[in-house]
Subunit: 701 residues, 2 copies
């Protein structure tokens, strides 16, 4: 390879020249030359509430020992990542979430903030850390009680006790309540018997299970006295000091995966494995020595969801990690697009910088806007998480909100990571396909984020159900007149999209400059009303169509739900988009620098308009936008892209990545150096008088 | 691993039960139970004109020696694929395109058909074969003359002469005309001097360059007598018998890539490397001993495009290979979705088969329709290719049409491969992420298909320009009145979407059953008119907006083009979609079995309606569909999905893949076996009277 893995990504220069060095081709949007963002201030804004912790984590992973080695064989990669976890523990990177009495810091928000950015070093490091401390450790911490903490937490933090989180089975992933593994209490021995009754009940896809796990937190149906009390979590030792399975425990290696091959995912099965009664992690449900069951939460359903909810941090962390990885991909692709040239510009001299192409702007700039929205939304999510798990705001309503928020945001950011990384890969052409430029590795590693820690479609369905139930609550206790009015309105399909909302986005008269009136009609408030109105109406429409389900048989009700499933998921996605848009707007409103506010407002508008364009048919069909105004949305986006183009490099520089985080040779300045060398060669050749004449020019003469 | 790599994918059964074994859950669309496709007939239809050759190729790769070993380290994978190429040559798989006097068969269509399906064994095998025989060999064959054929073709066919195709440079990919490598003629020595003047002019991303290539067909600027005659192709020896670079030749390994790691991609550079004058592949341009240049094609531009056009087969082959790979992914995901169960159905007994979920149908079935369209369109493309290169229909108009068709179809099928394989991966959850189930490997390998052999966006832009030029031809020689009428119409924005087309899709009165009238209004002809009308109007609109460019300066003209670039690419995509739809319709019309016709018509409708839904906002804004009718499109698609659901397995079985082609354990029947075992376990437990009571039921009592 000609390019060193790390180099200054560009010469130090005046931040006001967008590409960092030579000015790019002229742009038509004159106003853009005036406003400029203050990059350090925007970096602070993006890093959010726990910026200090994120900087600390980013500083730590500047050590090459943490970096992924592209193309490293799986076996070596797994050992390397295990070593990185040790290094992380030694550097205090594993203790933040845990109680102080076990050497922790008791700082929940900082803990998540500190883990997210590990994705920059190697997503396998981020996820294996998540398995050890966010899932295995967290299960002991959140589902266990003091005796469990005393026994295991110190060794969890130090990695002296590496463990697996054994929830998913080959046969059941999303439907955790239906897992097949049993934990049957034997009162005579005061032991639980952990057992795998059939092949589908093998635990599967578990990090740390194939090689490194010494124990596991195993989810199983708790059976005592002939009653199944549902899924509970048990601490089960797996391997002896030499790494051999303990009696009754067996397993398999999951082998090569689409990515994350630094993690030893595997399968586990149990043949009547006996563990002490005390190994039940008993915070939410316990079995006495005589076999009697007790729980603070009488409802089995609520108890189950409370236990799962205690483990929500994985989703919060994936939302943040996906956002960071997406930002990295955009940093690479935008930097390259700002240096790479291809095809003559028509001027007959210079070739055109990729980012000056209209299509290339369309491919990258709306995605920059999207990832900004994600940063801001994730910070709100982490703050909410911290309020609950830090105890300052821990109510069941808050927990329910947190779970809904995480279930809405994680799908959007993990899917967007795949979409954006792929677009960045293609936008970098053949060089984007080389592992050294990191885009393909990021895509491969993040692929599974869309289906683990809650399958994205299943999570969105949960959000949709929550929205439906909120909607129904409006009518609970409502008087007959209100209900009747609702029913009538519903029949006419107008309850939410009547006079009020229907005119949105076109209330401003279309006179004068079409450009100005469009912008007036698609500003802040109108964007919000269009996005929010869509969620409300979709939910109202679905609720109306689902009303017959209340009186139907279970099978018929399931069929009615099924007919609306796809749209309910779409409504939940619309809700997530609205939340991201609101978070972006709140962040912009908090900025006090004029130039920064101006540019970020354009970027927020680009985000909002891109969402509206994506769902344009819906807005038209539902009378929210006139065809005339709808036709202008695309042109407005084009204009915003042109305005933002000179700020593109600033906006990705504001992610605050250093060369040790980026590492992609194509984003190192090597491309600019090659372009300069080629142009100098041709200039010198021309000056020498020895340049060959082109046949075309010869023919013209 | 518990699952053998190959097993009977399902028990032999009556084809009338869709999932092959136990019937799936009940479906509401009664009419679906009557029509059934004849699977073998549909397989014939899909395999197309060269079905025999495809069957021959598929038979050959049932030998495990051709299969990709998932997770194999790069160095071993590269050697394995080289061995597979030898095996292919030994079995006659490499000779079909070449002239009979060199041991070939002179059968161009069969050649492409035979290569496409190699993707089932390992995409690295398909692409490395393409490098050796489709690019390196084809350059000698198509751009060289008899002396070159005599010297090298036998060794090319036998793989005694492995070679690289050295066109792309680090600095220039899409813009081949601007490559930096020079071939300067030295009349005294009667030699060309091949030289790389700067780093950006290194040849890059070349298969066979890092290790195995003994020679290369090198594209360089031909300079003789002080004149640059543009890009020509030269045969340049690279390595000696021991694999060491010859004097003046150097290179690097491209290292690990996002996929296709069975191919040794690398870089090459030349330091004044001398080759005999005869090594110029001189079919379209030659240099005499005295250095004088001659060509049958006087225009340098036309000559350049003629040379590139001679190499169009790569795109044709990628279109077919992407289609086969996409079909494989759908075979795996649909088979799994037909066996896998998750979540209680509401009936309280069985869990629901994934493909019975509305959302899951929406995810997979429109993509089955899409790949059917691709099979049919690809067969037309190969027939056109065969007509030209087989000499039965070789005119310059036909060549131009072929290039446009290939440039329109290759982007659609390669992008769709990525989209569909990813959706299939996610639809299979965690098991979809395991390498053994092949979906992740297919995505990784096919990723680069979107940007090599012509970047997809650049290809579509070429198609768009062709459409614009066709559009302009309508007015060439037109009388003044016609032009004036056009100009007036254009100003009003109505030239193509006036009375005639505007009413399309809503001419049928909306009375009676809404369902029936929707279908009447969105049938065959209306779909065609909507799809074709969109292409026409988009091109007409863009042409109108670009008219000022004709009188503008080159820089201004470039800016005007740039402002329309994104939409021009979109118009080209619409054109490709229309071609696919037409190919699908032609294929359906040729079927004479009633059941098959019925089901394939539904599938074609699903394809057409999905395209219309995708661009629904456009149809609304442009007055092609009323909001009322537009609102019914989505519901019609839902209904088509429900109708096609019982045929899903038949439709993917008709791809004709055998277990040796599929190899994914999740599509082998293992999932069904696991489901059956689990259900039997619970049934036996219940029968024994020893099943634990659930706490929930206990509480209800």
């Amino acid at each position: 390879m000609t390019d060193a893995a790390v180099r200054p990504k560009k010469p130090a220069t005046d931040k006001r020249t967008p590409a960092g060095g030579a000015p790019t081709a002229a742009h038509s949007a004159e106003e853009a030359h005036e406003a400029r963002i203050r990059i350090p201030a925007v970096t602070d804004l993006l890093l959010g509430t726990w910026a200090d912790t994120r900087r600390e984590a980013r500083q730590l992973i500047k050590d090459p020992a943490f970096w992924r080695i592209e193309g490293q064989p799986m076996a070596e990669h797994r050992e390397r990542v295990l070593g990185q976890l040790r290094l992380l523990a030694e550097n205090g990177g594993s203790r933040r979430a845990f109680p102080k009495e076990y050497g922790g810091l008791g700082d929940n928000g900082a803990n998540l903030a500190g883990f997210m950015d590990l994705v920059l070093a190697d997503p396998s490091l981020q996820i294996k850390s998540g398995v050890q401390w966010g899932l295995f450790g967290s299960a002991i911490h959140q589902l266990g009680t003091k005796k469990h903490h005393d026994m295991w937490l110190r060794d969890v933090i130090s990695l002296d006790l590496p463990g697996a989180f054994a929830m998913t089975e080959t046969g059941h992933g999303s439907d955790v309540a239906a897992i097949g593994t049993t934990a049957t209490y034997d009162a005579d021995a005061e032991e639980f018997v952990i057992h795998t009754p059939f092949r589908g009940a093998w635990k599967d896809y578990l990090g740390n299970a194939a090689l490194h796990g010494r124990a596991a937190t195993v989810f199983a149906q708790l059976i005592t006295g002939g009653v199944n009390y549902g899924v509970h979590c048990f601490f089960v030792p797996l391997r002896d000091e030499n790494g051999a399975f303990l009696p009754g425990v067996g397993g398999e290696d999951d082998g090569a995966k689409g990515g994350l091959n630094g993690i030893d995912n595997g399968r586990l099965h149990f043949d009547h494995v006996r563990i002490p009664r005390e190994n039940l992690l008993n915070r939410y449900g316990d079995v006495a020595a005589d076999g009697s069951y007790s729980s603070e939460i009488p409802s089995p359903g609520r108890r189950f969801f409370t236990m799962l909810g205690a483990l929500v941090q994985g989703r919060v962390c994936l939302d943040g990690a996906s956002t960071t990885a997406t930002a990295l991909a955009l940093h690479i692709a935008v930097t390259y697009a700002n240096q790479r040239r291809q095809f003559d510009s028509g001027s007959g001299t210079d070739e055109v910088v990729l980012l000056d192409y209209g299509k290339h702007q369309r491919r990258l700039l709306p995605r920059v806007a999207q990832v900004y929205a994600q940063f801001f939304a994730n910070d709100e999510l982490v703050r909410k998480f911290d309020g609950i798990f830090g105890g300052t705001n821990d109510t069941s309503e808050e927990r329910e909100d947190l779970e809904t928020l995480a279930a809405a945001l994680k799908p959007l950011s993990t899917w967007n990571a795949l979409d954006t990384i792929q677009e960045c890969r293609e936008a970098c052409g053949g060089s984007g396909y080389l592992a050294e430029n990191r885009l393909v590795g990021l895509h491969q590693d993040l692929d599974v984020y869309a289906t683990f820690e809650g399958d994205n479609n299943v999570l969105l369905q949960l959000v949709g159900k929550r929205l439906l139930s909120d909607y129904a609550k409006q009518f609970r206790g409502a008087d007959a007149a209100k209900l009747a009015k609702y029913a009538v309105g519903q029949t006419a399909g107008k309850v939410f999209h009547g006079a009020g909302l229907r005119q949105l986005g076109q209330a401003v008269a279309d006179f004068g400059s079409p450009a100005r009136s469009v912008e007036l009609g698609l500003r802040d408030e109108q964007q919000h009303e269009l996005l929010a109105g869509r969620v409300e109406q979709m939910i109202s429409d679905i609720a109306g169509r689902m009303r017959p389900a209340a009186k139907a048989s279970p099978v018929e009700a399931a069929a009615i739900f099924n007919a609306n499933q796809s749209e309910l998921i779409e409504a939940a996605r619309a809700h997530g988009e609205l939340l991201q848009w609101e978070a972006f707007s709140d962040a912009v409103n908090a900025v006090d620098d004029e130039g920064t506010t101006q540019v970020l407002t354009w970027l927020r508008d680009l985000f909002g308009l891109t969402l509206i364009e994506k769902h344009l048919a819906w807005h038209l069909i539902n009378g929210r936008l006139s065809t005339q105004r709808a036709a202008t949305v695309t042109r407005y986006i084009d204009r915003l892209c042109l305005r933002l183009r000179p700020h593109a490099q600033d906006l990705v520089d504001a992610f605050g990545f250093e060369p040790e985080h980026v590492r992609a040779p194509i984003a190192s300045g090597a491309e600019r150096a090659r372009q300069d060398e080629a142009r100098e060669y041709y200039a010198a050749l021309a000056a020498s008088g020895e340049a060959p004449v082109s046949e075309k020019k010869l023919r013209k003469k």
